[in-house]
């Protein structure tokens, strides 16, 4: 029952996102066809009224808004996100080719920065006030405060160019032929190291700090005193009593971070020319490929919704108090 309610709730959210995605570009000022003929006033391109009508009819823009909206929903339910103008291919196809790279990149780095941040944050809180805590706090916050693109460039120059141990860009070696599949996997991982490391370093600060603070407040809780009164060892208390309670705010943060991760990948994918949807987004802004942009926004919005759904489920698993409601 609970789960059905939740799913219904997320379905409504997705419907609202679809509607916004439909109405937002149509609410923008200007001519729908402007991008076809260019907006540069020095280029006196002209369209006759007949040409306009043909084009509008071709894109279905001559129909009333309600009909366009219905067409749009029907199209999406069939997996039709439109036609990319610049790439001359279906939007969904273009996105799917790129999506796997972004999922590999953000997936790997999210798992690493969450685990590492949780671990370091818990250790830091446990050693609060000690040298170990102070130094982790200072060093992690310093490197994490650097802007993503700057960090990426630094890593690229140092590990890519100077030391020459990691490739400078791309997701795999171009036109390479591999002796066996393992070699291919290793090549992909080799290309993944620097962009993933950039994202990990850029995002670990938030997780670390939140885990440290959350852990500090948990360590002051009465039930920790209660556990110590039973004669349990400090390590046991940390693992069995403290961590699960301290993780609750991290779950919320991780879900919210997914949205920011996409923005983060735009810079990282640009710096490392990594063929994911961040770079695709950047390119489609540059060449004003509106249908593709619209499709990308939709995919990003839906992945944020999915992340929230996962967070909700994790919360239910972690906190028995939420299960009741």
């Amino acid at each position: 029952m609970n789960l059905i309610n939740k799913l219904a709730y997320y379905l409504v959210i997705i419907l609202i996102i679809l509607s916004i995605n439909f109405f937002l570009p149509r609410a923008m000022p200007g001519d729908q066809l402007a991008y076809l003929i260019g907006e540069n006033p020095d280029m006196p391109t002209r369209m006759t009224d007949e040409e306009r009508e043909v084009l509008l009819a071709h894109y279905g823009l001559d129909k009333p808004l309600s009909e366009q909206y219905l067409d749009y929903l029907v199209g999406i339910s069939r997996g039709d996100l439109g036609w990319s103008i610049y790439r001359s291919a279906p939007v969904l196809e273009v996105i799917l080719v790129r999506l796997k790279w972004t999922m590999l990149l953000t997936g790997t780095s999210t798992v690493i920065y969450l685990l590492l941040g949780i671990f370091l944050g818990a250790e830091s809180a446990w050693a609060r006030g000690n040298k170990k805590d102070t130094w982790s706090l200072i060093s992690i916050l310093t490197v994490s405060s650097l802007p993503v693109f700057f960090l990426g460039i630094l890593l690229k120059i140092f590990f890519g160019a100077e030391l020459d141990i990691f490739p400078l860009d791309g997701a795999k070696t171009t036109c390479a032929s591999y002796a066996n599949p393992l070699e291919g996997v290793l090549d992909i991982l080799h290309h993944l190291v620097l962009p993933a490391a950039t994202l990990v370093i850029a995002h670990i600060g938030g997780t670390y700090l939140l885990m440290r603070n959350s852990m500090l407040s948990v360590l002051g809780a009465d039930y920790i005193l209660s556990a110590r009164a039973k004669g349990l060892s400090e390590r046991y208390i940390l693992n069995r009593h403290a961590i699960k309670n301290a993780l609750l705010p991290i779950v919320t943060m991780a879900a919210l971070m997914v949205g920011f991760m996409i923005t983060g990948t735009i810079f990282v994918e640009k710096v490392f020319t990594y063929p994911g949807i961040g770079l695709l987004l950047y390119d489609s802004v540059m060449c004003r490929d509106y249908p593709l942009l619209q499709g990308l926004f939709l995919i990003i919005a839906i992945s944020v919704v999915i992340a929230n759904f996962i967070a909700d489920m994790t919360y239910i698993w972690l906190d028995p108090r939420v299960r009741e409601e």
């Binding site: 039930y223 039973k230 004669g231």
Partner: protein, 309 residues
């Protein structure tokens, strides 16, 4: 257990908090000793000092001799074998003292596994037995539930089961009836009486009616020190200290008369007798000289310049 000359201090930016100040008392093997006082007088700190569960910054002086060993000199590893097994504390506020994300049965069983070396299954079964002993209905089912599914009185029962799980010989019970309504309170008092019959217990409370039901001897604590202690009868029938009389007078059946004023901060005590600013009998000597704890009648100690029967 013999406590002598015990001082517990906390350094704070505002000065040193002297939460427990030169306390001497001994608790016999099977007696229930009541420690009574207003909020903030240092009684909870005394309980936590015995368990050595205070913040690392706290400093402790004096001796707490338990079974021939000075607990203040015991290592942390030694203390871990004593906590829960020899000496158990039933903490106040069951709602916050139970881990919200751990099943109730497991919170009892983990101590049993640790101290009695039982395996997971046997310890879980023992935990169910404990829940049954504190009269929780359908204990095997309740053991798998979480604290938020229990009412306040039931949580207090869980706390008692948790404290007594490894059959400790000394129990510290900190406000076990706090926040319970009258009928539940009576049930908990009855349960405590039965469960701690052959054990030593230090009962920390500000509820005289509970102390009267459970205690053999009672001490009154004011501003970090004991001001009077005596057998139950002595306190209720012939109280010597004005603070004790004031406390008794604030009982509902004696007219609910409050003691005027507030208890002093534990950083800055008044000169002389610490109670003198609130005492109607205070004289010049009370303002000047700090009274000693003296044995007025056999076994009846009081700290007052003007003690009279």
């Amino acid at each position: 257990m013999r406590i002598s000359d015990l001082k517990t201090n906390f350094p704070t930016p505002d000065g040193i908090v002297r939460a427990v100040d030169t306390i001497d008392l001994s608790i016999r093997d099977t007696e229930t000793f009541g420690l009574i006082g207003e909020t903030g007088c240092g009684k909870t700190v005394l309980g936590l000092t015995i368990m050595r569960l205070l913040h690392p910054a706290a400093t402790m002086e004096g001796e707490i001799i338990y079974k021939g060993k000075n607990l203040l000199e015991a290592s942390e590893a030694e203390m871990r074998t004593i906590r829960g097994r020899e000496i158990a504390i039933i903490l106040q506020n069951p709602t916050t003292s139970l881990n919200p994300v751990m099943r109730v049965g497991e919170q009892i069983a983990e101590a049993i596994r640790l101290h009695q070396g039982l395996n997971k299954k046997d310890a879980a079964a023992k935990a169910v037995e404990m829940l049954d002993a504190v009269r929780i209905p359908s204990p095997s089912q309740r053991a798998n539930e979480y604290p938020h599914e229990f009412s306040g009185g039931m949580k207090q029962r869980v706390m008692i089961a948790m404290g007594l799980a490894c059959n400790p010989s000394f129990i510290i019970a900190d406000e076990p009836t706090k926040g319970l309504d009258v009928t539940i309170k009576a049930q908990i008092v009855e349960l405590m009486k039965e469960m701690t019959e052959r054990k030593a217990m230090l009962l920390i409370t500000h509820d005289l009616s509970v102390a009267r039901e459970l205690c053999d001897r009672i001490a009154l604590m004011y501003a970090g020190e004991l001001v009077e202690y005596a057998p139950l009868k002595g306190i209720f029938e012939s109280p010597l200290h004005p603070y004790t009389r004031g406390f008794l007078g604030s009982l509902p059946e004696r007219g609910l008369v409050p003691i005027p004023g507030m208890s002093p901060s534990l950083i800055d005590f008044p000169d002389g007798c610490r109670f003198h600013p609130r005492c109607e009998h205070a004289t010049e000597v009370c303002r000047r000289e700090h009274p000693e704890l003296v044995e007025f009648n056999a076994g009846h100690f009081v700290r007052c310049h003007h003690a009279r029967s």
